[in-house]
Symmetry: C2
Subunit: 315 residues, 2 copies
């Protein structure tokens, strides 16, 4: 766990008002604001040089800042509605601002979310976006709810964005086309909003993968009080990652982060419906393991002892 995750403990308040169904600790807070509807709220900050490489284009920064927040709404199965933007800039640069606004608007129109307010301040470049979405009541997908025997699924491919970051930081060398693809996945994540909405009433638990499969799955196991077996041969690799040696690809997929794919558990019986959903919606959904009764134990059938340079062991 990151030291910065530990900080959350200072801001976990007890005695929540009755309308607060979920607060700190899931992908979004869930508020019962009207008799039929729930409001889901999530906030994420992106800091220059920490969450995106220095000199990332403004268009990509804006796109990603909104995308990672939308991904939290996707993980709840919420319909995106409104967002606010708090933008801290070192100086006023009109060309930069125009590109930033263009990136923001591009994804916002796609996702059907509307900017309702914000704040602009001077300081080191950082972007905080808060998204709000709604859903029919009691329908939010939570990290809690995984059941022993559930199949564990992920959407899309894992590790591509981590490979992109390694390329940007010159820790990994790839052929130009492959490098471009991985950088694209790093800068322009695809929030899985439609899939999240489809999973409401179908999945038992769900979250998005932002810190890497292993770190995030552990959060889900803890909230659900279950364990998991993961099979390394089932992990979905893009054609780009299939070209790397297996250990490198596995480290990227298991610990890399920035995927913004959905990780969910559901009864095995959902497999047939998922087959159809994949075909109709042109999205890869892969069964990577199953839920066990070994509480918070994550078992992987591959020994990652000998890691390539530049990566920390995930456990």
């Amino acid at each position: 766990m990151h030291e910065f995750d530990l900080i959350q403990q200072y801001f976990t308040w007890t005695h929540a008002p009755s309308e607060v169904r979920v607060s700190v600790g899931d992908d979004a807070a869930v508020l019962q604001v009207s008799p039929d509807e729930e409001l889901m709220i999530s906030v994420d900050t992106l800091v220059n040089g920490v969450h995106f490489p220095l000199n990332t284009p403004a268009h990509a920064i804006a796109y990603k800042a909104l995308a990672v927040n939308l991904s939290d709404l996707a993980a709840m199965g919420a319909t995106p509605r409104w967002f606010t933007l708090a933008l801290t800039l070192p100086a006023v640069d009109i060309a930069w601002l125009e590109e930033f606004a263009r990136g923001l608007k591009e994804l916002a129109s796609q996702a059907g979310i509307f900017l309702i307010g914000g704040d602009t301040t001077r300081g080191p470049l950082s972007i905080t976006i808060q998204v709000m979405g709604t859903s029919a009541k009691q329908q939010a997908l939570l990290r809690k709810g995984a059941q022993v025997g559930d199949a564990i699924f992920v959407s899309g491919y894992l590790g591509d964005a981590a490979a992109g970051l390694a390329v940007a930081q010159q820790r990994l060398s790839l052929p130009t086309a492959t490098a471009d693809y991985c950088l694209q996945r790093l800068h322009y994540p695809s929030p899985r909003l439609a899939l999240g909405q489809w999973l409401q009433g179908r999945a038992h638990s769900c979250m998005d993968i932002s810190d890497g499969l292993v770190a995030d799955l552990k959060h889900l196991l803890k909230r659900s009080q279950v364990g998991a077996n993961i099979y390394h041969q089932n992990l979905p690799f893009s054609p780009a990652l299939q070209k790397l040696n297996l250990s490198t690809a596995l480290v990227l997929a298991l610990t890399g982060g920035d995927d913004y794919e959905l990780l969910f558990t559901a009864p095995e019986s959902l497999l047939a419906e998922i087959e159809t959903y994949q075909l109709v919606n042109q999205i890869t959904i892969t069964k990577i393991g199953e839920v066990t009764d070994k509480i918070t134990e994550l078992s992987l059938d591959y020994d990652l002892v000998n890691l390539p340079d530049g990566y920390n062991h995930f456990q």
Copy 2:
């Protein structure tokens, strides 16, 4: 107008969904989220060394970060309900975090607002808080609505926080007790929540004073399409500011900012009720001028041409 206010134009989106009653440009956004209730949302970022002096105590930083946001809810007359915190820290410092959490909780319990989520990241110290409040529908106080002939009022005293900042930056020297009082007003603003709620249905327009009376009143005049006469002898000065020479006190009160008092317009006939409200609630409310038909013209009966060193002209 600050160059950073101009940035807002890049993020003012047209074609708002029907439930968005007010978006960018007022103290908070107003959303019609249920048949009877409106949701008000506001976000503010505080950056180290920009919005508070370097080495401000963590308790004060947290208190102020929440207070300036609550002040926006006060300006709408909303009841505070929930907030999120996005905290960017250069490093993990447990003692600092404990003090920060204590300051946050202190004001949150006073104001009856609950922390529902957040994000903690590594980077230069900055705090973004988003507050949400509710109100009966169509009751939100807006900057728009001031009517020709309205009296213009402010709560509390003006200029104390600006004097505190000048003391902290060693631009102003004051006796210890006075300096302490001004620094207290700088670090611990008092969001006027009860007053804002009381003004619903009574005031024609309202906003909070964060950038200084002149700058903020101009926003109100623009949104309401009216003008204003302000009388310098009516401006409310604390005992601390009464000891300064008149020009200095006026500059602090007119242009200083960080007051977080309410500025509102109402019919002259409200004066009698305001007299009673002041006595019962131990708060100073002062009539400082009146609304005219000279659209966006702000007239002040004092010539501030010869400003003391260290201050910019307000015009």
